[in-house]
C-alpha cells in the first residue's frame, strides 16, 4: 500500500483537527497576552532551555546538537507517573515501543522505523544493549535511578559507535545533587502491580554516596477477549507474574581538576513469559525467565585547563539468563532449559581540545564481550568471544556568513574493528544555522552507520549464521527548532534512513528461522514536537507527532516496496496538565495508526489503529520539611481492547494509587 497520510482510521478525526488546532492557537494567544501583562522574562531562556552539561550526558561537546535531540526531565518522569521507562518514552516523536503486555511483558524500543537492535540504549553514556541479542528490555530498567532521559534521533555511529542507526536513548542516573536525602515511593494498582523504592544520599569527605533499592512486581492477570471456534470468551492472562529487584550505589567525587565516579547496579528478575494467544492455546504458558545482572560503571575526568579535558570511562557487565519452558519439547524431551552468561567490558578514553571556535574530540574505545551457554551451534561449542576496537575523531567549528558565528559545522570519522563481525568506517557531517534575529535554528546531519550482528544472529542453535556482515545505513536529518511563539517550543524534523545488509530472520520453514543479511530498507518521515507552558505554567502541554514509512527495498524480495512490519505510519502522543491549588490534573494519550505484523501487507495481519487515554490527579503536601505527593492514575480510561504485538493482548483499564515522600 502506498503512503497516504489519511488512509487509516484516524482519518475520522481529521475533521476534529482544525477545531483542535484553532482552539490551541487561541489558548496560546491568550496565554501570550497574559504573559505580557506579567513581568518580562528572559524569553530566550524560556523558549530554549539551556542544555546543562554533565559527565553522564551523551557527549560533553555538542555533537548531538546537529541531530534531533530531546530530553525528558525528572519532573516529566514524575508527572507522567512512570513505573517503567517505556511509560514516558512514547511521548517523544519517532519512538515506537513494542510492548508484549502487562508490567512483566517485554518492551523494546525502536526509533524512526528502525529495529530495536538498531537503537542504542545507554546508561550514563554506556551502551547497555545486550551483545547476545542486540536489544535492551525496558521493563527491567529500574526507573527510580533515572533522573533524566536524552533521546538523539537519527543515525550517529561516528559519535556512538555500533547500533546507532535509528538513534540513541541515554538514561542519565541520579547524582547526589539531584536527589533528596531520603525518598520513598509506593505504588499499587490493578493486577497487583506494585512498585516501591527508597533512596538516600550520604555526603562524606571522599565524596557523595547515593544508594537506592527498587522492587516491582505484578500478577499481570488482566482479562482480555478471544474468539475460539466461533465463540467469544473472556480469558485472564496466565503466567504473567513478574518480579524485579534492583539495587544501585554510586560515589561521586568532590568537584576538582580530577573528578571520578563509580556506580554499581545489581538487578535480579523472575517472570513468566506467556506467549501468543492463538485459537485454543496460550503459547509458553509455563515458560519462565530468570535474569541476574551486575553493571559497574566508572568515569573519571581530568581537566588540564579550560580548553583541554580527558575523560576515561569503563563498564563491566555480567548478565545471567535462564529461560525454561517444560512444554517446548522440540528442544529436548524435558523442554527447553536455556542458560547463558554474557559478559561485556568496555573502556573509553576521550580527549577534547578547544581553541577559540574550534573544537576537537579524539575517542579511543576498546571492548571485549563473551557468551557462554548451552544453546549455541554445535560447531561453536558453549563459548564465544568478541573483541572490538574503535577510534574516532570529530572537529567542530563555528563561523559567520550572515552574522558572526551563525553557522557551526562538524566533521567526524570513526573506524571500528570487530574480531568476528567485520569492520566499519563511519563518517559524519553536520551543520547548524542559528538565525540571529529570531529564536530559530536549522540543523542538518548526515551519518553513515553500522550495526554488527549480535551473538544470537551468528551463533544461536539452528538460527545463527556465522558469516554475517554488519548492517550499513545512510542517515539524513534536516530539522528546525523554533521559539517564535511565546512559551512554546516547536521542533520539527525530516529524516531519511537507507539501510542495506539488514539482518533479518528468514524462515527455513514456518517454525524454524535463521539470520541472514538480506534486507534493504528505506525509511523516511516527519516529526513534530510542541511544548507549551501556558498561563505562567498553569497549563502545560506537549505533543509528539510522527509521520513515517519504512519500505522494503530488497529487489529480490516478494515484499519489495511493501511496508516493513511494526512500523505505524502515524504516531501521536500528547500530554496536558492543569495546576491549581496544589493539585495537578492531567490527561495523556497515545495514538498509533494501523500497521502490518508481517511483511506481506495482507489485511489478515493488519494490526488496527488504537488510541489510549490515561488520566491522573496528584496533590503535593508540605509537612515539617517533608514533601508528600499523593497520586491516583487511571490508565486506558475507556478499557480499550488492543494489542501492540500480534496476539499479545494488552491490559484494559488500570487503576493505581501512589505516595511519594521526600525528606
Amino acid at each position: 500500500m502506498k503512503f497516504n497520510f489519511f488512509n487509516h482510521h484516524f482519518y475520522d478525526l481529521m475533521y476534529c483537527r482544525p477545531v483542535l488546532v484553532s482552539a490551541y492557537l487561541l489558548i496560546v494567544f491568550a496565554s501570550s497576552v497574559f504573559s505580557q501583562n506579567k513581568e518580562v522574562k528572559d524569553s530566550v531562556k524560556t523558549k530554549f532551555p539551556e542544555i546543562v552539561v554533565s559527565a553522564s550526558r551523551l557527549n560533553i561537546s555538542s555533537g548531538t546538537d546537529f541531530s534531533a535531540y530531546s530530553t525528558i526531565t525528572k519532573s516529566e518522569l514524575t508527572k507522567l507517573g512512570a513505573v517503567q521507562i517505556s511509560d514516558v518514552l512514547q511521548f517523544i516523536p519517532g519512538i515506537f515501543i513494542k510492548n508484549y503486555g502487562g508490567m512483566g511483558g517485554f518492551k523494546t524500543l525502536s526509533l524512526r522505523g528502525s529495529t530495536a537492535k538498531q537503537t542504542v540504549i545507554m546508561i550514563d553514556g554506556f551502551r547497555i544493549n545486550s551483545t547476545q541479542n542486540g536489544m535492551s528490555d525496558l521493563s527491567i530498567i529500574p526507573i527510580d535511578m533515572v533522573n533524566e532521559i536524552e533521546i538523539v534521533r537519527g543515525g550517529n555511529s561516528a559519535l556512538f559507535g555500533a547500533n546507532a542507526i535509528g538513534g540513541i536513548v541515554n538514561l542519565i542516573t541520579r547524582t547526589s545533587d539531584t536527589v533528596s536525602f531520603i525518598k520513598g515511593k509506593i505504588n499499587y494498582g490493578s493486577y497487583d502491580d506494585f512498585l516501591t523504592s527508597i533512596n538516600s544520599k550520604f555526603i562524606s569527605f571522599v565524596g557523595d554516596f547515593d544508594g537506592s533499592l527498587e522492587y516491582s512486581s505484578s500478577q499481570g492477570d488482566y482479562k482480555f477477549q478471544v474468539t475460539d471456534f466461533g465463540e467469544s470468551k473472556t480469558l485472564h492472562r496466565e503466567n504473567a507474574e513478574f518480579e524485579n529487584m534492583s539495587f544501585s550505589i554510586s560515589l561521586n567525587s568532590k568537584p576538582s581538576d580530577l573528578n571520578y565516579s563509580i556506580k554499581g547496579i545489581a538487578r535480579i528478575s523472575d517472570r513468566g513469559t506467556p506467549g501468543a494467544v492463538t485459537q485454543n492455546n496460550v503459547e509458553n504458558a509455563f515458560a519462565r525467565l530468570k535474569e541476574k545482572e551486575l553493571i559497574i560503571l566508572g568515569a573519571s575526568s581530568l581537566i588540564f585547563d579550560e580548553n583541554q579535558i580527558l575523560n576515561i570511562t569503563s563498564l563491566f557487565r555480567i548478565n545471567d539468563y535462564n529461560y525454561r519452558d517444560p512444554l517446548l519439547k522440540w528442544y529436548s524431551p524435558t523442554g527447553i532449559d536455556e542458560i547463558f552468561t554474557n559478559r561485556d567490558f568496555q573502556i573509553t578514553s576521550k580527549y577534547s581540545y578547544k581553541y577559540q571556535k574550534f573544537l576537537t574530540d579524539i575517542n579511543i574505545e576498546s571492548g571485549y564481550s563473551d557468551i557462554r551457554g548451552n544453546m549455541l551451534q554445535p560447531g561453536v561449542g558453549d563459548y564465544r568471544k568478541r573483541s572490538s576496537f574503535g577510534i574516532s575523531a570529530r572537529v567542530e567549528n563555528s563561523f559567520g556568513i550572515f552574522n558572526e558565528s551563525d553557522f557551526t559545522c562538524q566533521l567526524g570519522l570513526r573506524a571500528d574493528i570487530l574480531s568476528d563481525a567485520g569492520n566499519a568506517i563511519s563518517p559524519l557531517v553536520g551543520l547548524i544555522y542559528n538565525v540571529a534575529s529570531l529564536p530559530l535554528k536549522f540543523r542538518f546531519n548526515y551519518a553513515y552507520n553500522f550495526r554488527p550482528p549480535n551473538f544470537n544472529e551468528m551463533y544461536y542453535l539452528n538460527y545463527g549464521t556465522a558469516n554475517l556482515v554488519p548492517e550499513r545505513s545512510h542517515s539524513f536529518n534536516l530539522g528546525l527548532s523554533c521559539g517564535v511563539i511565546s512559551n512554546t517550543t516547536i521542533e520539527t524534523e525530516t529524516f531519511l534512513i537507507s539501510t542495506k545488509n539488514q539482518i533479518i530472520s528468514v524462515p527455513n520453514s514456518p517454525v524454524q528461522w535463521s539470520a541472514r543479511n538480506y534486507g534493504k530498507v528505506l525509511t523516511k518521515g516527519l516529526e513534530l514536537r510542541v511544548i507549551s507552558s501556558l498561563f505562567d505554567k498553569l497549563i502545560n502541554f506537549q505533543l509528539a507527532y510522527t509521520l513515517q514509512e519504512a519500505i522494503d527495498k530488497s529487489t529480490e524480495s516478494p515484499t519489495f516496496d511493501m511496508q516493513i512490519p511494526y512500523v505505524p505510519q502515524e504516531l501521536i502522543a500528547g500530554t496536558v496538565d492543569y495546576n491549581f491549588v496544589g493539585f495537578i490534573v492531567g490527561l495523556n494519550f497515545q495514538y498509533s495508526s494501523y500497521y502490518y505484523t508481517l511483511p506481506g501487507n495482507s489485511l489478515n495481519n493488519l494490526m488496527p489503529s488504537y488510541t489510549i487515554l490515561n488520566a491522573f490527579v496528584s496533590k503535593n503536601l508540605g509537612l515539617l520539611g517533608t514533601n508528600i505527593e499523593l497520586r491516583i492514575d487511571c490508565n486506558n480510561l475507556f478499557d480499550t481492547q488492543y494489542s501492540v504485538v500480534w496476539k499479545y493482548p494488552m491490559p484494559g483499564r488500570l487503576l493505581k494509587g501512589g505516595i511519594l515522600i521526600r525528606i
Binding site: 492463538t278 485454543n280 492455546n281 512444554l327 539452528n462 524462515p507 515484499t559 495481519n605
Partner: protein
C-alpha cells in the same frame, strides 16, 4: 486315451481360471480426485493464520480461505500441518491449536473437531480405514489413535522417537519418522529413525536407522517399497539429506540417494518419484536399475521456496505450493507434465504445505 485329454484339458482350464486377468492398477499412491484440490496453508507459528484454500478443476479457480468463508466465525487456528480426505470427510491437523478439524469435503461445512490437550501438537495423520486414524504428536514424542467417526481419542499417547513428523500405514504396520527436530534432539535415542509399529500390539518391531532429521515417509504399495525423506542436520555445513528406499516386507534398505530433497510424491503408477531437489522439481524413475534424478523444471526465483508438491492423476499434473519467503501469501503452481513450460499460477494463503485432491 481321449478321456485323459479331456481330464487334462479340464484341469488346465481350472488352473488357468485361477489366474486373475490383469486390470488397470488401483491407484494407492496418489489422489485421483476429479473435483478439485485442497491446499492447506500453514500460516506462521503463533500467528493464528492457517487457512484452507480450494481449487476447482472445472472452473479453474481458487477460493482462498475456503474453510473460513464457508463457516462464518470459524477459523482453522495456528499452524495447520496436514490434511487428508477419506470419503466425504476431510481431516485437518492444526498443531499449535491442538486440534483436528473435521470438515465435509464437498461443502466445506465444519463437522466438529478432535481437541487434544494443551501439551500436545498433532502433526501428521494417516488413515487405517474410515474409522481409525493415527496422528503423530510433535511435542509429546508419541502418536495417538483416533476414532474418525466419533471424533474421539482412543489412545492418547503411544511413545515413539523424538519429534515425530511423517506417518504412513501398510500391512498392519505404522511407519513413523522420528525427526529429532534437527539439531535440537539429534542425540536423543531414536532420533533420525523410522519406527515400525505393529498396530495390533502397539509395539515397535523395528527402527529404520541412519536417517538424520527424517521428515517424510511414503508408501509405494505397487512396488512394496517405503520411501523416506530426510534433511540431515542444519548445523552440518555439508548437510544434504536424501531419500532412502526400504523393502516393506523385510524392512531392509534397498537404495539411497544423497541430495537435498523434500516434498516426495509418487506418480499414479508408482513408477516415478517426484521431489524438490535444490531449486528444481526432479524425478526418479524407480524401475530403472540405477535411477538418477532428472530435472523436470526449475524455480527461477531464488528468493522463493517451493514448499509442497503433489501429483494429480486426474490431469497428469504436478501441483506446487510456493511459500515464497514464508511470510507472505503463497501461490499454487500447476505444471501439466505434458506442458511444463506453461504453468498456471493462483494465489494461496501463507505457506501452502499440503495439496490433496478430492
Amino acid at each position: 486315451m481321449k478321456k485323459y485329454y479331456v481330464f487334462f484339458a479340464g484341469l488346465m482350464i481350472l488352473i488357468v481360471s485361477c489366474v486373475k486377468q490383469p486390470s488397470e492398477p488401483i491407484d494407492d499412491n496418489t489422489n485421483i480426485g476429479k473435483t478439485g484440490a485442497f491446499i492447506l496453508c500453514e500460516g506462521l507459528y503463533n500467528k493464528d493464520n492457517s487457512t484452507l484454500d480450494r481449487f476447482d478443476f472445472a472452473s479453474n479457480t481458487i477460493l482462498n480461505d475456503y474453510f473460513g468463508k464457508t463457516n462464518t466465525g470459524l477459523r482453522l487456528g495456528d499452524s495447520g500441518s496436514d490434511v487428508v480426505i477419506i470419503g466425504n470427510r476431510t481431516y485437518i491437523t492444526v498443531s499449535a491449536s491442538h486440534t483436528i478439524e473435521v470438515m465435509e469435503t464437498l461443502t466445506g461445512k465444519s463437522l466438529g473437531r478432535i481437541i487434544y490437550s494443551q501439551t500436545s501438537s498433532p502433526r501428521k495423520i494417516c488413515m487405517i480405514n474410515d474409522s481409525i486414524g493415527y496422528v503423530t504428536d510433535l511435542l509429546r514424542n508419541s502418536i495417538s489413535k483416533v476414532n474418525l467417526k466419533s471424533l474421539t481419542i482412543i489412545l492418547d499417547s503411544l511413545p515413539v522417537g523424538p519429534a515425530p513428523e511423517g506417518i504412513a500405514f501398510y500391512n498392519n504396520y505404522l511407519f513413523v519418522a522420528n525427526s529429532g527436530f534437527g539439531d535440537y534432539m539429534a542425540n536423543v535415542p531414536k532420533a533420525g529413525t523410522v519406527s515400525v509399529i505393529d498396530i495390533t500390539t502397539n509395539q515397535a518391531i523395528k527402527e529404520l536407522k541412519n536417517l538424520p532429521n527424517v521428515i517424510e515417509v511414503l508408501i509405494n504399495k505397487k512396488s512394496g517399497k517405503l520411501y523416506v525423506g530426510y534433511l540431515n542436520l542444519p548445523s552440518l555445513s555439508d548437510s544434504t539429506g536424501g531419500i532412502a528406499e526400504f523393502n516393506l516386507n523385510t524392512f531392509d534398505e534397498t537404495r539411497r540417494w544423497k541430495f537435498k530433497a523434500s516434498g516426495i510424491t509418487l506418480s499414479s503408477t508408482g513408477d516415478s518419484l517426484f521431489f524438490f531437489k535444490d531449486s528444481t522439481v526432479s524425478m526418479l524413475k524407480l524401475k530403472d536399475a540405477n535411477p538418477q534424478p532428472q530435472e523436470l523444471f526449475t524455480n527461477s526465483a531464488s528468493s522463493e521456496t517451493w514448499y509442497s508438491l503433489s501429483y494429480s492423476a486426474y490431469n497428469n499434473s504436478l501441483y506446487v505450493g510456493n511459500a515464497k519467503n514464508f511470510q507472505v501469501n503463497g501461490s499454487l503452481l500447476i505444471y501439466p507434465l505434458n506442458d511444463l513450460l506453461n504453468p498456471k499460477v493462483f494465489q494461496t494463503g501463507i505457506n501452502p504445505n499440503k495439496i490433496v485432491f478430492f
